[in-house]
Symmetry: C2
Subunit: 366 residues, 2 copies
C-alpha cells in the first residue's frame, strides 16, 4: 500500500500500521474463534488469553518487578487525578511538583481528597513552563503519603530525563508518576517509583484504557468515598475484571506491545526517540526561524512545541503540511504555535519529512 | 463470506457483521483522512463529526427529548453504581428496587454515598429472582432523591415490560434506570425517567463506553467527593470531552446506531425482539425438558436463562453447540445452566438454529 500520512497528534495518536493491519484482518474472526475481539465475553478463555499476554508483554517491556500490580482501568489521566488520591492519600498530606498543565490539574483535583501542597514548580511569571525545578530544592513534607510528578508534560514539552530519587532526598514518600505521554519510550527505575499511571491514547493504543502500575503495599488503603470500580485493591483482586474492562482497547494495546518487542523493546525505542528528537530540535535550533523555548536539558523527546516569528504563518504552515501528508501539527490551544508529537509509532522518516517541509517553508516565508 | 457463528454472549456481545466489515475496511483510513479513527485527536473536526453524528442518531433512535443530555462516559454500569449517587443523591434518601444481581450491586454501592433503602425486592427465600414486585406495593419515601430500578436483569433474565409511573404512585422522585442490557430494544417513556444509563457492551458496541442520558435539572448537584471526570455537569459542559473519551468505542457505537436506523429503528428491533423471544421461550416451555423459571410476564426478551433436568448434560450441550457454531451459551456462574442472550445483533436465524439444536439434543439425551 502507499505511504500513510505521518500523524503528529498528541493523542489519541498514531499507531503502527502493522498493528492496524492485523486488527483489520482479525476484525471478524480472531484466530478462528468466529468472533471479533469486541464480541468476546471478558470471562471467556479467548479474551483472558489476550489480557494475560498483554499484561505479560508489558511487564517484560518495562521490567516491572513482581511486587507491582499491572491494572487495566478506565477514565484516563484526568480520572486518575482523583483515583490516585482516593486510593493512596488517606486524606493526609500529599506533595505535588507542578511543571505544566497536567500536573497542575492533578494538584487541583487532589485537593478535594487530601492535604495537597506544592513541593515545587517551574511556573514562570508569565505562566510558561520551560524548565524543571531541581529536586534538591523541593519542599518534601515528612509523612507525606506520596509525591506526584508528571514525568512528561504533553502540552509544554518538558520531560524529566531522570526520575527523582526521593530516598536520597531524605523522603520516605513513594513517588507517583503520570507518564501518559512517554511510557514505553524509556525504561523506568522502579526502585524510585511507587505508582505509575498512563492513559493509553498517547504512546500505547486507543483512548479508553488507562494503565496503572502500582506497588503491592500501596494497595488496600482507599478512602471510603472511592468507587469500588476504581479501588485498586478490588481491581487487582479481580485481575482487572471487576467491571467489564475495555476489551478491544486492551487487545490493541497488546498488539502494540508485541510490535514493540519485535522492534527490540524499550531500549531500541529509546534509541530511536533520541535520534528523532535530536533531528527535530536540531533543525529548530539551527533554523533561526523556528523556536522551542524549553531549556535543552528539559526538552521532551515525545512532544515538541515550536513557534514561528509571525502569527499569520501558522494557518499557511498547517495547510501546506496537510498537503504533504503531515497531520495534526497544530499546537495546543493554551500554548499556541505548532506541536509535533513523535511517539514510538512515528518512524524516523516521518520526522525527516517534517524537517524537510519546515526547511522548504522557511525558504519561502522566512 | 460463509455464515459467521451465532454468538449468544451476555456481553461483551455480538455485533452486526455489517458494522464489523465497515470498521475493518475503514481501519487504516477513515473517509480519506489518512487516519484510523483510533489515531484521531478527539478535538479534531473528523472525530467531532463522528461523535456528533453518534449522539444525534442515538437521540433520534430513542426519541430523547431536548432537555436531556446524552453523555459518553467510561467505567460501565459498575462505575455508574457510584457515579449516579455521587451526582444525584446529595447524600440524602434514595430508594432501590432490587430484582437481581445488578440492582443488588447498585444498592450496595450507593450505601457508601447516601441513605439508600430498599423499596421493594423480588428476592425469594432461596435467593432466586423470577418475578417483579408490583409497583403499587413499593415503599416510596417522601423526599427521596431518586428511585433506582434495573429495567432488565442480565443474569436473572427478568425485565420490566413497562416502566413504573412514579408520579401516579404519588412520588416526586425521578426514576433512574440501569438499562444496560436492553437499551435500544424497546422505546423509553422519558416522561417517567430522570436518568438512564447503559454500559455499551451488551446491546450497543464495545466495552469501555457508558451511555448516560440525564434530565438537565438533575445535573449540577454532585457531592464534593465526585471526581471531576465523573461529574455529569463537567461532562455535559465539555460535550463528553472533559477527559479524552473512548473514541473508537464511540465510533463503533455510531456505526451500530446507523445500522439500527437502516433496520427501521427501535420499533422494528422491538418487533424482532418479541419474535425471537417468543420462539425461544415457546420452544423451552413446550419441550418438557428445558425450563425457564421466570414468571411469563416478567421474562426478559434479551437474556434467557434455561435449564435441563440433569447437571451432567450441560458440558455435552455446550460442546455440541460450539460444533454447530452456537457460541457462549454457558449460564452465569451464580445461576448455572444455560443462557442465550439475544440482543439486537442476533438475527432470527440464530435463534432458529439454537432451537433446532435444542430439539435435536433433547431427542438424543432427553
Amino acid at each position: 500500500m502507499k505511504q500513510r500520512p505521518y500523524n503528529f497528534s498528541a493523542g489519541p495518536a498514531a499507531l503502527p500500521a502493522e498493528v492496524l493491519e492485523q486488527a483489520a484482518a482479525e476484525m471478524l474472526d480472531w484466530h478462528g474463534s468466529g468472533m471479533s475481539v469486541m464480541e468476546m465475553s471478558h470471562r471467556g478463555k479467548e479474551f483472558i488469553s489476550i489480557a494475560h499476554q498483554a499484561e505479560a508483554d508489558l511487564r517484560r517491556l518495562l521490567a516491572v518487578p513482581p511486587n507491582f500490580h499491572i491494572l487495566f482501568m478506565q477514565g484516563g489521566g484526568l480520572a486518575e487525578n482523583a483515583i490516585v488520591p482516593l486510593n493512596l492519600s488517606g486524606g493526609a498530606a500529599v506533595d505535588f511538583v507542578v511543571t505544566g498543565s497536567w500536573s497542575q490539574k492533578s494538584f487541583k483535583e487532589a485537593k478535594k481528597y487530601c492535604d495537597a501542597q506544592l513541593a515545587a514548580t517551574n511556573t514562570a511569571d508569565d505562566g510558561s513552563h520551560t524548565t524543571l525545578p531541581d529536586p534538591a530544592s523541593w519542599k518534601l513534607r515528612r509523612g507525606a503519603r506520596y509525591l506526584h510528578v508528571c514525568s512528561n508534560e504533553t502540552i509544554h514539552g518538558v520531560e524529566f530525563q531522570e526520575l527523582p530519587d526521593l530516598k536520597a532526598l531524605g523522603s520516605d514518600a513513594p513517588l507517583v508518576i503520570d507518564c501518559s505521554s512517554h511510557i514505553l519510550s524509556r525504561s523506568i527505575d522502579w526502585s524510585r517509583v511507587g505508582l505509575a499511571f498512563a492513559g493509553a491514547q498517547k504512546n500505547i493504543g486507543p483512548a479508553g484504557l488507562t494503565i496503572v502500575i502500582v506497588r503491592e503495599d500501596l494497595v488496600g488503603h482507599a478512602l471510603p468515598a472511592c468507587p469500588s470500580a476504581f479501588d485498586y485493591k478490588t481491581v487487582a483482586e479481580h485481575g482487572s475484571m471487576f467491571n467489564t474492562p475495555p476489551t478491544y482497547a486492551i487487545y490493541i494495546a497488546g498488539l502494540v506491545f508485541q510490535w514493540l518487542l519485535r522492534q527490540g523493546g524499550v531500549a531500541e525505542l529509546e534509541r530511536r526517540a533520541v535520534q528523532k528528537a535530536e533531528l527535530l530540535y536540531g533543525a529548530i535550533d539551527a533554523s533561526g526561524f523556528y523556536s522551542n523555548k524549553v531549556a535543552p536539558d528539559c526538552r521532551s523527546r515525545m512532544n515538541v512545541p515550536f513557534f514561528m516569528p509571525d502569527e499569520r504563518l501558522y494557518a499557511l504552515f498547517l495547510a501546506g503540511a496537510v498537503e504533504r501528508g503531515l497531520l495534526q501539527l497544530k499546537g495546543h490551544k493554551s500554548v499556541g504555535g505548532l506541536r509535533a508529537s513523535i511517539y514510538n509509532a512515528m518512524p524516523l522518516e516521518g520526522v525527516q519529512a517534517l524537517v524537510s517541509y519546515m526547511t522548504e517553508f522557511q525558504a519561502r516565508h522566512g
